[in-house]
Amino acid sequence: MGLFNRRKTVFVDSDILVIGGGMSGCGATYESRYWGRDLKIVCVEKANIERSGAVAQGLYAINCYMGMQWNENQPEDHVRYARNDLMGLVREDLGYDIARHVDSTVHKFEEWGLPMMRDPKTGRYQREGKWQIMIHGESYKPIVAEAARKAATEVYNRIMVTHLLMDKTKANRVAGAVGFNVRNGNFYVFRAKAVIVCAGGASHIFKPRAVGEGMGRTWYAPWSSASAYALPILAGAKMTQMENRIVLTRFKDGYGPVGAYFLHLKTYTQNAYGEDYEPKWYESLKAIVGDYVDRHPVPTCLRNHALLEEVKAGRGPIRMVTKEAFQDPHKETVGWENFLGMTIGQAVVWASQNIDPKHVNPELTTSEPYVMGSHATCSGAWASGPSDYAPAEYQWGYNRMMTVAGLFGAGDTIGGTAHKFSSGSFTEGRIAGKAAVNYVNDLGREQPQVSETEYEDLRKLVFQPLETYEVGRNEIVAGTVSPSYILPIHGLQRLEKIMDEYVGGISAHYTTNEPLLTRGLELLGMLKEDLAFLGAEDLHQLQRAWELHHRVLASEAVTHHTMFRTETRWPGYYYRADHAKLDDANWHCFTLSRYDLQSGKWEMEKAPVYHIID
């Protein structure tokens, strides 16, 4: 109990508070300083920004680069590509905005010291595919973090932000955030004029394929704990496309990436009997999605569909044919360094199982679903678009401001903008950073104020799991079974089981329907009630407890959105068996939700999709 007694409340005032120091958070911090020379800019991160977020491990490619200087692609082309991949539904205004700025971000990365590969013939960046360029990105995150540290007034590492604070003088306006230091247990009250949420998307909301020691080897980082969604949801911000979870086709067990293999090494897939299986499923796909099946490149979800069906038909495992490509020593090196640069675990799996892709064609599998906003999917908050061209319905204030005044977002947090990846997330952070500076400058003297009652109530709530454990622990002899509390891992495994079985996870073949979703919501409701009885043995477990809170709330959003959209828009990501076809007549639109904290109710609505015509 000594820790309790020494716990302090620390107040940190800032003009702009950036929550999360991953790619988008570093971009937001950097840009905020460029425009806000005299502003106090604070970045708060639950780990250490040197190695935090989805790029902690490194990356071997930058997947969003136009190459406008060489006339390789234009922003419109990227919008069309992302729209096509997401079956017609992306925020084209936001996507264009990222695409038009992203090249300047990448050029700064190179100037800062990120080693770029170059095509020896042309001298241009080495293309992996139409949008991807290859890098030696082991230190991608430390380099970007250095830029952010230079820009920030202060960086607070090891603080888990649990809630946003609302302004007591004006409704629907943000005033800061609270959290706790996972090292010393101090409570932090961040008072800010503008807040930019740059937190991570959601791994571990659906049961992973590996449930033993290997449960941490998820495709998306296990520390991506849905704070990107829970923080805005709790503040009453509207969310969009939360049903649009993503399923990844990856190398088995390690979830090593396949992009460089398909695009650069020109490897290809086949079933257990050496057959090309994708054409076999053309008609079944056409029955679901109609003409979308003929689009090029084939949308990511539809390629998953063929693999899933082939496996269900009993012709697995699906393999990547690497033996031919890997005879070329250069390609073999690229193939291995690709993993070592961003998914070391896949190299370990192959080394442990004696899989040398020069001699063995490795197995592929489909992952459990993830909810995030920066890959081939676009869940997140509903944000205002750029002022120079966004349609009126997409514009209510500053660029990347959510439906809560002063609350901005970037990266996984912002919905509707698929395929931004690392460079686009940093770029979106920059866009939000500049907009937040303008917001703060325009505020004048009319500044938000936090309510002491609100943060004191949150302080009790945040530390409750420590007390629950401390008291309940004395009731039992030893062990993990208590009638008075559940541990964070217990709650996490229950969440993963509910989502897996009722909301379209691996064991349900990614399939759900209204009765399953209804039952899933009932069980999620009970889990939510049980979260009041979470027990945390120490500060590390307290972090896990709040990560679980965030994951559960995001999962509830996912389930409501999945229920609302009565069609199957992305076969291969998930199937509504009771509405088994894509339905453009009724669902060529975005789904929006808003959570009411007081009643616990979710309101759903539709929002129109605007396209760059052609």
Partner: protein
Amino acid sequence: MPTFVYMTRCDGCGHCVDICPSDIMHIDTTYRRAYNIEPNMCWECYSCVKACPQNAIDARGYADFAPLGHSVRALREEAKGTISWKIKFRDGREKNFVSPIRTTPWGSIKSPAEYAAPNSEAFKAQELAHEPEALKIERLPALTPGKLKQGLI
């Protein structure tokens, strides 16, 4: 492969504790050395392995799918600007790779505040920091209002 720490090499410096993105490298209170407190929340990102000055941290593939006998070792040398890898298969085969990690000195990035301050018109324009120069094209591309329309495409 969750990480583990060799007892005889670790001196308890805490670099791994400081860097771990998952907050799972902690100091054991009895031995005063680091260990992985939650192997099933380890992403095998190797941040701790790379950060360890004593090379005391290694990884053993996840027990639920990785047979024993392998190793993947990393040596990250900031001064040289390289990372070296040694992969050893269960059957003894080895592969070695070396990659650059950075092309500029550590700490050399300029703060955005070191650049000339933007003028007042620039705040309401669409250009971000260092644009249009950093785009390496003449001007920032833009759409015209009304270019975005509803309907199926």
